[in-house]
């Protein structure tokens, strides 16, 4: 439940340790590559991911041996950097050494928990000033991470499934969860699925995925209006992260995520979401949010993008209203912004709340 079987746990230790050490040195690596026309950070990710892929069949029973073997393989793949860009190669050597040194005491659970708490804390900041008790009373919620595993590889799904392929989500929230081996029923769980095909993008994405679970499902009222919870709220979270990073940097504070983690959603996940031909709803919700954000930016209106978001996050169906009211509302906004954005803005200006706006759009 909270741990993995030995073989997969060793793999996951190698994955999290290597990725963590590389993540810590990414700003330095990026600096050494900024003027390089032959080698890029993407090349480094590619070689790192390839070393992870080479390693996935490795069955070293001891963590330290496994880490050593992974590092040897990775060094082999990046040896050519030394001739092309020695400073970059030296940064990677520091990563390799740091990885080897940390191997003995590395705990993947503590590492993932760090990112979980970073995501939760950012979600908490997002809703800190909420005027809605429906949200504020949920801000004490803290989910427990569970690593589901049933002996087949990851949670009963095919071991070779790619985290961004045809399988289940690499991170998911369950209000209730039954651990099959422990015969225990748990509440408020975030599942972290340990796929065999792991890569740097997955690791960089963990803080954003945890942020999403809180801003879209755990801290808000979720009546399965996916266009809002899994679409609009992804845009809201991505916007918030960018804004918060700038504000904290201006204030001289250290932001918990580096630029690669900050941009991973837009660089990696958003294109996948848009290309997902079997679920267009999140991308649709994201697009509507993005258009409404642009429409209202700089406008002196009561119903700002943030106010709409907070109201929808606190939505409770009133008498006669279906649980899917937010879906209807956002579909209506989507229709209107497509065909008559100026008229929509004219309707938003006098609106006092989302229900008032909806009645003006009917």
């Amino acid at each position: 439940m909270d741990y993995l079987l030995t073989q997969l746990a060793v793999q996951y230790c190698v994955f999290t340790l290597g990725c963590r050490k590389l993540t810590e040195r990414l700003p330095h690596l990026t600096a050494t590559l900024s003027a390089d026309t032959r080698l890029s950070v993407k090349d480094c990710y590619r070689d790192f991911d390839a070393a992870l892929a080479d390693f996935k069949r490795c069955v070293e029973p001891k963590r330290a041996d496994a880490v050593r073997r992974f590092v040897e393989g990775w060094r082999g793949r990046t040896q050519y950097y030394e001739k092309i860009n020695r400073p970059a190669w030296m940064v990677l050597e520091e990563v390799a050494e740091g990885t080897l040194q940390a191997a003995e005491n590395w705990d993947y659970r503590a590492d993932i928990e760090d990112w979980h708490q970073a995501g939760r804390s950012l979600a908490h900041q997002y809703f800190a000033a909420t005027p809605y008790p429906e949200i504020s009373r949920k801000l004490t919620r803290c989910a427990r991470i569970v690593y589901p595993y049933d002996g087949l590889g990851s949670d009963g799904y095919k071991p070779d499934q790619n985290p961004f392929g045809k399988g289940p989500s690499p991170v998911a929230y369950r209000e209730t969860y039954q651990d099959l081996s422990a015969q225990e029923s748990l509440e408020n769980i975030i599942l972290v699925r340990c796929f065999w095909d792991k890569n740097m993008a997955l690791y960089l994405g963990y803080p954003f995925m945890f942020l999403h679970e809180y801003t879209a499902h755990i801290f808000v009222n979720d009546y399965q209006n996916d266009i809002f919870n899994d679409g609009w709220m992804l845009f809201a979270a991505a916007q918030f992260l960018q804004r918060q990073a700038i504000e904290e940097r201006r204030a001289g504070k250290k932001f918990p995520l580096n630029p690669a983690q900050l941009n991973i959603f837009e660089n990696e996940f958003l294109p996948q979401m848009k290309a997902n031909d079997t679920n267009n709803i999140p991308a649709k919700g994201y697009a509507i949010a993005s258009e409404i954000y642009a429409l209202l930016k700089g406008e002196n209106v009561h119903l700002t993008f943030e106010n709409i978001t907070q109201e929808l996050a606190a939505f409770v169906p009133q008498a006669g209203e279906p649980k899917q009211w937010p879906t209807r509302f956002l579909n209506k906004l989507g229709e209107r912004i497509e065909i008559e954005a100026e008229r929509l803005l004219a309707n938003i200006r006098p609106a006092t709340d989302i229900r008032d706006l909806y009645s003006r759009l009917a």
């Binding site: 060793v10 399988g167 989500s169 599942l191 267009n280």
Partner: protein
């Protein structure tokens, strides 16, 4: 109050078969379960929450739907196995998560 001594949580991976999509499954599956239980005269299981289906909330890059059904009584477990799952299999690809025992801890 439901007898929870026989409670079982049944987890199903639902794969869309075109023209169905993940989006259409997420939108329709709970009402389809309600409809088939009603057709078989077992809709009361949903009212008392003896049988509670839940769609997993995900980071939305997944391409299958995980459906979790909490069955709190023996009759609810029976209804899931004999009514709900066969009905879902008529329309979707359905894989049921299997039980297995954990053999050792993950630390080495």
């Amino acid at each position: 109050m439901a007898d929870t001594t026989n409670q079982e949580i049944i987890e199903l991976a639902i794969r869309p078969i075109p023209p169905d999509t993940v989006a259409s499954i997420k939108e329709e599956i709970l009402s389809e379960i309600e409809a088939v239980l009603k057709e078989k005269g077992q809709e009361k299981l949903l009212v008392g929450e003896d049988l509670k289906p839940e769609v997993e909330k995900t980071f939305p890059i997944d391409q299958i739907v995980i459906l979790v059904i909490k069955a709190a009584t023996p009759i609810a477990v029976w209804a899931v196995n004999e009514i709900v799952i066969p009905k879902l299999r008529e329309k979707y690809g359905v894989d049921r998560k299997k039980r297995s025992d954990r053999d050792e801890s993950g630390d080495s």
